[in-house]
């Protein structure tokens, strides 16, 4: 096995590795579904509670992925969560669109759902989405549920019947 032979074999080995890596990255993972930053424009949305939203979570409208969460920070003045979104350049949204934080499936990962508004003017790069709805937090749900239950029970409490004799 000459020197040249071994070098070519090692080159082949490395190429094989790169091919495997590309396969894993593109076909088997989410790299293929757009990350080219030149194809995106930036929008911002502020939420009272971002729940379990993570960076790189999808932004979906009507169930179709149209963007990704680029960053999540806290606004030190308003104490709201500031979420920056990288949106696909091919899709424009009206300026009164609303953003909600939803959960995929019952207990799945959270994503940003965009609902298109009716305005003719579209959101451009750097715009802030005004209408937002925070994530549903399980504890609030439960306490809300219990509170409602308690309220119902309170208004439905029957006046004690004059059972054991005695006129009022």
């Amino acid at each position: 096995m000459g020197k040249k032979g071994i070098e070519s074999l090692v080159g082949f080995f490395v190429l094989l590795g790169i091919a495997g890596l590309l396969f894993l990255a593109l076909k088997a993972a989410n790299l293929g579904s757009f990350t080219a930053s030149s194809d995106t424009y930036s929008l911002t949305a502020k939420f009272d509670n971002i729940g379990g939203l993570k960076v790189r979570a999808p932004v979906r409208s009507a169930g179709v992925t149209v963007g990704r969460v680029a960053s999540i920070t806290l606004d030190p003045k308003t104490f709201q969560g500031v979420v920056r979104l990288d949106m696909q350049r091919s899709v424009q949204f009206p300026s009164d669109s609303s953003a909600r934080i939803l959960t995929s499936g019952l207990l799945g990962d959270q994503y940003v759902g965009l609902e298109a508004g009716a305005e003719e003017k579209a959101l451009v790069a750097g715009d802030v989405i005004k209408q937002t709805q925070s994530a549903v937090v399980l504890e609030s749900l439960i306490s809300q549920f219990l509170f409602n239950k308690a309220a119902d029970a309170g208004s439905a409490v029957p006046t004690p019947a004059p059972a054991s004799g005695g006129k009022k």
């Binding site: 071994i6 070098e7 590795g17 894993l24 088997a28």
Partner: protein, 260 residues
Amino acid sequence: MTNPLQRIGKVALEASRGLGHNATFFVDVLRNLPAALRRPYLVIAQVHAIGNLSLLIIMASGLAVGFVLALQSYYALVTYGASESLGLLVNLSLVRELGPVVTALLFAGRAGTSLTAEIGLMKAGEQLAAMEMMAIDPKSRVLAPRFIGGILAMPVLAVLFSAVGIMGAYVVAVKLIGVDAGNFWSIMQNGVDVWRDVGNGILKSIVFGVICTFVAVYQGYEAQATPEGVAHATTRTVVISSLSVLAMDFVLTALMFTHH
């Protein structure tokens, strides 16, 4: 005669001395890395000996593991009506865990023992002593290129293991069982993050590469220059590499994949 406390103390001292020796040896090899890099052909020859020659067993094992994973996971998932997530499950299992770990174990068995035996036999044949007498540091000429070769080869092998495994799973899931091909890929793509999953998996395999190659090279260099000595050394290589990889895997998984 010697009371248990003395014995424990002796064992502890021996272990600590061994660890120290390992550490100084490791630093020694690291110090010789730049010299080895100035001789690319030596490193290339080692990547060939370690990587290329392991391709067959790694890819065959990857394929087999992919087949089995798909089969087993299907029966587990179909009870919950989640058989569409088969691709995702197989991918994550391979890329995060099985790829790096099983590759490392196979590596320790095939390439690790080969390295240990080769170096041990060189020592037995006085080749290392001859090099020293010629004012050439064997750590620089023999050990460092092999060390670099192993670290370069391991991630490539792990990636190939996972890739072939996924392809094998595809064949079983889509062609044999009948899972929908589109869903197989799309659910997988949605759930696997390149940086968090594939990237961390590669990081793991690099760490395992360092561990397995270092253990193999160390055991070979420190082997007793007799046939039994070399045999013991190769056994130690496999045992120590495997246990270290599994232990390190736990630590790395905890660091990388659990939410803090």
